[in-house]
């Protein structure tokens, strides 16, 4: 290797859990670009937010495909956001104990809300 050589591509250097986490952020991010923006457009632009009431949800979730859409959005957004928060905690929370405690709190909260969101979508019985 000569000194003038360009640095190696970061992804190739160390293929461990962090490389998968890096790849997950890109793939989930690309999917979320469509899922999240479409979701926002449907609930705030195409329809006024006031009109997306209970009957709106009931009509929409009558179609299982919309439940799959919403669950995919839930799972990917939570996973993407949680991994982002994990990076941020690693960067700014210095003490190992505080770092572990912060992560435990965030993971517990996100895990609980993932269960709540999943239950909401799966157990919903319309009108």
């Amino acid at each position: 290797m000569t000194v003038t050589e360009a640095p190696p591509a970061p992804a190739r250097r160390r293929a461990g859990a962090e490389a998968w986490s890096w790849l997950f952020m890109r793939v989930s991010g690309l999917l979320l670009l469509f899922l999240a923006l479409l979701h926002f457009a449907i609930t705030h632009i195409v329809n006024d937010v006031v009109d997306t009431d209970y009957s709106f949800v009931a009509r929409r979730w009558d179609n299982p495909l919309w439940r799959v859409f919403d669950w995919a959005l839930l799972a990917l957004a939570l996973g993407h956001g949680l991994n982002g928060v994990r990076w941020i905690v690693d960067d700014y929370v210095r003490s190992p104990r505080a770092r572990a405690a912060t992560k435990a709190a965030v993971y517990t909260l996100a895990g609980g809300l993932f269960a709540l969101g999943t239950l909401t979508i799966v157990t919903f019985e319309g009108v």
Binding site: P10, M25, L37, D48, L82, F124
Partner: protein, 139 residues
């Protein structure tokens, strides 16, 4: 965006202050990506709770009506900006990472990301605020 893969967490103490990226533009993009990401994440947590109320229709409708409030409409415009900026900047990061050399003028691409985000937010924001502006919804 996260941190550059090679950099282990403890190294970034100084990096958070100095510039990891070449020039301040990339550094601001990095910060804005984090801030918008955290804001959207926080809203997501709240949103899971309010949607879970759908199991009790009357309560759901009562809570959901709050989203029509002018303050929450303004919040939704902010959320739209955060979503669009985070999406477009994320797309820029994907291009930089997967297609090295594809972006030749990163500063110009960054400027485009900001301009498109602002324009999209202005257009979407007008639709979101319109019921309030035209007086059909008060407070």
């Amino acid at each position: 965006m996260g941190r550059p893969l090679g950099a282990a967490p403890p190294v970034s103490r100084g990096a958070a202050r100095g510039s990891v990226y070449r020039g301040p533009a990339g550094q601001w993009a990095f910060l804005a990506h984090r801030v918008t990401g955290v804001l959207v994440f926080c809203f997501l947590l709240l949103h899971i709770v309010d949607v879970s109320l759908v199991a009790r229709p009357e309560l759901y409708d009562e809570v959901h009506a709050l989203y029509g409030n002018v303050l929450l409409r303004l919040f939704e415009v902010g959320l739209l900006f955060a979503l669009v900026f985070h999406s477009l900047n994320g797309l820029r990061i994907v291009l930089v990472d997967f297609f090295p050399g594809a972006i030749r003028n990163d500063r110009r691409v960054l400027r485009t990301v900001v301009v498109v985000s602002v324009l999209a937010t202005a257009a979407g924001g007008w639709v979101i605020m319109e019921p309030f502006l035209s007086g059909r919804v008060f407070g």
